[in-house]
Symmetry: C2
């Protein structure tokens, strides 16, 4: 199903998931057709529109929300920028984030002009995450902006509990959660989806859940944002979150999203959890493991020497993991597709 | 070279250009490799970085500017939003545009909050374009935001002359100019490139020229915008226009851009101009042609009855053109690849 496993112990879905043969074929088939029939004309546009409808519904299904509340984006970075630019917060407003966020969220926070308060999670037990974040909330805090699963350690941030404890709206970066742990985003305010990671979609595919589309300004409109417009640019936004759709997605990309999402088995979460558990246990016999048990499906660990060099050596042995820049940590991503043999190869490569 | 011409008189590069076999093969080859080797690991990231360098240089070459002044985007819409959001204009500022712009520019203008003044060009001779635009400029005008070639009629807007006459900065939408008429954007301030149209690149590829990157705020940052960042999101922007790069571009897409751009012959502009001239003359014998001679390479014309229905009928006869919504016009796009036979089929389909 995933050809990469024929050659590699591919343990980096946290950066980009393995591609299934069927997904690549869906993309290739659309491209062959475009090569022969061109990329326009009424049937082409019908396929494109139908592809957007199907992709939106499929992404919505992954996070338990209605399709009308999902925008089609190209990345989690897009979603963060759309939300933080659209909220129109100012220098008197505070947003609470953590010290373990990806730049896709942090950059958007920074340019929004808000005051950023950073909860220190590094080195903290997972059980202390909620308290550390709540401690940063003050009377000027307008938003929580953080990951559901930390991309560094894989620790789970209890986002629903945090929302309840603080009563604040939450922008949640779902890059390391959607597709690998069960997610119900419906009670949250904004939730981003990175389709190319755990969902194994083609590059540059993503989604954004917006619980109340009318309460967020459109600040990055595309042709897909409007249902009618005037010559001075005034426009009637589309119903629901589709107004935040920020650009063209190739017909093949849309087909690839649907194919990839349809391929995942029902038992995926349990199996990924189990393989992360085994990964952690195997590594812990040989190296220092930083990630706690029973969190997400990323396993961070420390080896002697330079982490980047170690990741490179592992690659030469057919094991694909990543180092975490600015630290001495390596990270392995476990999915339902991970085998015991992959884990044995990993241990041999990093502690052999 | 372009398989679509084996079956269709494909005359809609103004929406999306024909794909060359070599371009599709460059994309497919990268995808095969990703299928087998995964989408991460040191060699993968080296290919991705090298691909960005090459694509940036190739796009810069198309508009006669240094690569350091070009951002990699995914569409002209991205470029317009990046510029208009980044300029931080307000309700006391005016921007002059025209009544013949695409929503990609208009929507960005609208949400920027500026006052929009719309020069009326519809129905005007091409020779009157400059006067009509200059007449809208007032003491509060901060920017000209308009197309180089109008997507409706193909008429050329003398952007350099306008900049000289008004002394204003100019954001130029290059969707219908780059690749089909000679463009030197260096004296302009902001210039967008739609790679998937006349440059025949894969979907979702584009560029943005920024003459003075330090004078434009980064308001839609991506991981590619920074060279270093702190945990609160403060970041050191990359040198030059690369700080406006707004997201991931697949390795295959980058290879496709370079392959597509390398395939165009030196004589492309003369030939496209000549084929547009022939198209206009042939159509004018049978229907009312709206586009003037010796402008861009789009030919707009009027047929009896509903234009959308006429475009659909033409498609059924193997002729791909488009209607212009809200008008009774059809539009044919002529490139260097257009043949006399394509034009004969066009005339037979719309006036047969």
């Amino acid at each position: 199903m995933y050809p990469v496993f024929e050659r590699f112990a591919y343990l980096n879905a946290g950066s980009a998931g393995p591609l299934a043969r069927a997904t690549a074929e869906a993309v290739a088939s659309a491209r062959r057709r475009e090569l022969e029939e061109g990329r326009s004309g009424p049937p082409f546009f019908e396929r494109m529109q139908a592809g957007r409808v199907a992709a939106r519904a499929a992404i919505a299904g992954e996070i338990g929300v209605p399709a009308e509340h999902v925008a089609l984006t190209r990345a989690t970075t897009d979603g963060c920028n759309i939300v933080l630019n659209g909220l129109a917060l100012g220098p008197d407003d505070e947003v609470v984030t953590t010290d373990s966020e990806h730049f896709g969220l942090l950059g958007a926070l920074r340019v929004s002009g808000v005051r950023v308060r950073v909860a220190r999670l590094r080195g903290l037990p997972a059980a202390d995450i909620v308290d550390a974040i709540v401690a940063e909330v003050g009377r000027r805090t307008r938003l929580l902006a953080l990951s559901h699963v930390l991309w560094t350690t894989g620790h789970v941030v209890p986002v629903h509990e945090l929302k309840e404890a603080t009563g604040l709206p939450a922008l949640v970066d779902g890059a390391q959660s959607v597709g690998v742990i069960p997610v119900d985003a419906s009670a949250l305010d904004f939730y981003t989806v990175s389709c190319q990671k755990w969902l194994c979609c083609p590059d540059s595919s993503g989604g954004l859940y917006v619980r109340d589309p009318d309460a967020l300004r459109v600040t990055f409109p595309s042709y897909f944002s409007q249902q009618a417009y005037e010559r001075d640019g005034s426009f009637t936004p589309r119903e629901g979150a589709a107004r935040f759709d920020n650009g063209w997605l190739a017909v093949g990309l849309l087909a690839g999203i649907r194919t990839a999402l349809a391929a995942h088995p029902e038992w995926r979460f349990e199996r990924a959890h189990e393989m992360a558990r085994r990964c952690r246990e195997l590594l812990a016999q040989r190296v220092e493991v930083v990630s706690e048990a029973d969190q997400g499906t990323l396993v961070a660990f420390r080896v002697a020497g330079d982490a980047a060099a170690a990741a490179k050596r592992a690659h030469e042995q057919g094991v694909i993991i990543r180092d975490l820049p600015g630290t001495d940590l390596l990270r392995a991503s476990c999915g339902y597709w991970t085998s015991d043999e992959d884990l044995e190869r990993l241990v041999a490569a990093v502690a052999g």
